[in-house]
Symmetry: C2
Subunit: 364 residues, 2 copies
């Protein structure tokens, strides 16, 4: 199986692009997507934050995310994008929010993770742009962030340079030995990789009901002269609503993200934008003076347990989907898993829990 | 002076386009604008509402606006755009807002204008989409509204068909007999018309200090299935802040508009968007479920007294600028005034107060 294969990767988001680029070193790769790099990845915030994203009961995801985070510095260097290494601040506004963060800190400590608890004044000393209504928080030094759009542009270029053929047609179904296109044609291959994010379920019967769209709105802002810029990525709980703020070196500030279980509706809604702006302003009082450059929505690929589906569905058919809020973070390890499976090798141990076979077992 | 002239109109917003189209029937007209139809007019809400816009002390503007409103049905028919004739509701949220509307109603009654005062419940009976926190309001039957973008597209087409030459260069100065361009060239003409909105002051020394940019943000929304649509144009006072909501037949809802005296800065700011959304939601509680399709900002041309500048600056140089919040409303009468002046005839009496000579008198 280590010989050169014909591989079709279905889907050109950050996962499909990373997989295709990696495989192109040893195989003949076609990437199938009418509009590569414009889906959920394009609107993502770019936090690489397995620790602040973690939650009791999702230890497998924390381990998988941590393993991928370790790969990120080398991945970013190979891609040629800088990483933001200032770390993440988790911030709590009201007492219920603070209780959640305390619970998270206890959980992380029990898993041996480094977190530092800070009072509101200590947080403001660490980042003077933060507002006085922040009650408490955590500083997580290891989390990273990346400019998603710069990354995607580079991945498209690198994949092209590595010989990946970009095919602008759409897939309708994936079966062993072929991808069936919506125009009725078929594209023969030795291995097909389903990396179509929220649209993956429809491509193979084994994925039915396992991946669903989760809409998220995200705003792009621009710091203006005279505003004290935010230095750290902040993930805040504002009266139990989540909001994150990702500042970029060039002055961009990304605000996200809402979550809706609303099918394939991907329209930006007034209520979502209002919540993001009002909640983020509690965290960053200077927000009103930022420029607003973009309101966008994307459809994440939600899975049943928030773990992605990384593995073999049947001979010649692999899946790399269901990454939900963690597509950017998990791109390096996903490419590694798919590359190992194509080569007939064992994938990294941390990815074992993400094998889609877990659901086949549940169904039986 | 009634012979065929070479005329250069500087500026291709709704004023410049209306003027150029009108003059092209009898003259050889060049319209000078690198980007016609994309300035303040393009982001305008399209309310044709001299009565709900009126204010004690601005009687000249009310008379001018009313005269132009009378021309609107014929103008709209000639252009080929429909008018919205449901009338405007003026709504007040808190008791101070209600007091302002009472004052306005008294003022309008004293000027012989038809207005009907309604309680909150009466307003909600008239338009069930309105929210329960509206305290009181007025219904003004005569005010109209128009789809600004449809209008602008039609005006560009009509002007072209009428023979107007669109020149994409920029004007630097206007003097008798010639328009000087930013590239140093000059464009000879018998008459030049300065219709460059907020950029007019720099074009002629007589306009120095008379026109300034007034930034306004405006949002475009889209009604979604299940939402009770707003039927009337609403101009609301929400804790002393102004917000207007203009529903269009196709399901678009335009929300406006902030006002900033901030020079030529035309960036959309978070604080403005937040205020518009939060205030408009008080008026229209279903707003959160609308789609948000566009956030934009434009620069209105503010004048010293809120009246536009319509008249002759010196022989061969006319001005049609400073329309502030009333460019759409005043387009027909502005075209009529300029056409009369070019023909050597008397402009309509209602436009006498808008003669720029009023400021020359003040200066002396």
């Amino acid at each position: 199986m280590s010989s050169r294969q014909r591989i079709v990767v279905v889907g050109g988001g950050v996962i499909g692009l990373s997989v295709a680029w990696r495989l192109a070193a040893s195989h003949e790769v076609t990437l199938l997507d009418p509009t590569p790099a414009v889906g959920a990845s394009w609107v993502a915030g770019g936090m690489l934050a397995p620790v602040t994203e973690s939650w009791p009961g999702e230890e497998d995801l924390l381990d998988l995310g941590s393993a991928s985070l370790e790969s990120w510095p080398a991945f970013a260097e190979a891609v040629g994008v800088p990483l933001q290494t200032e770390g993440t601040i988790a911030a709590a506004l009201d007492s219920a929010d603070a209780a959640v963060l305390d619970m998270l800190a206890d959980h992380l400590a029990s898993r041996g993770r480094e977190v530092r608890r800070l009072t509101g004044p200590e947080l403001r000393a660490a980042d003077p742009a933060l507002g006085p209504s922040i009650r408490s928080g955590l500083i997580v030094p290891g989390d990273l962030a990346v400019d998603t759009r710069e990354l995607l542009r580079r991945l498209v270029d690198l994949a092209r340079e590595a010989g990946v053929a970009f095919d602008p047609r759409s897939a309708a179904a994936v079966r062993p030995g072929a991808v069936v296109l919506t125009d009725g044609a078929t594209l023969g291959c030795d291995t097909a990789v389903i990396a179509a994010g929220a649209w993956s379920s429809a491509l193979h019967s084994a994925l039915e009901g396992l991946v669903r769209p989760v809409k998220g709105e995200i705003l792009r802002l621009r710091v203006r002269p005279g505003v004290v810029p935010l230095r750290h990525t902040v993930r805040a709980l504002v009266e139990s609503r989540h909001v994150y703020l990702v500042p970029r070196p060039g002055g961009e500030l990304v605000l996200g993200a809402t979550q809706y279980e609303a099918g394939f509706d991907d329209e930006v809604i007034v209520g979502g934008v209002r919540d993001l702006l009002v909640d983020a302003e509690r965290v960053l009082p200077g927000l009103a003076e930022y420029g607003l450059t973009e309101c966008a929505a994307g459809l994440r690929a939600g899975s049943l347990d928030n773990l992605p589906l990384l593995g073999r569905l049947e001979p010649g058919v692999l899946v790399a989907a269901g990454h939900h809020r963690n597509g950017l973070l998990l791109a390096p390890i996903t490419a590694e898993v798919v590359n190992a499976l194509v080569a007939g090798e064992d994938p990294p141990a941390s990815a074992a829990a993400a094998d889609p076979a877990r659901h086949a077992r549940t169904k039986r």
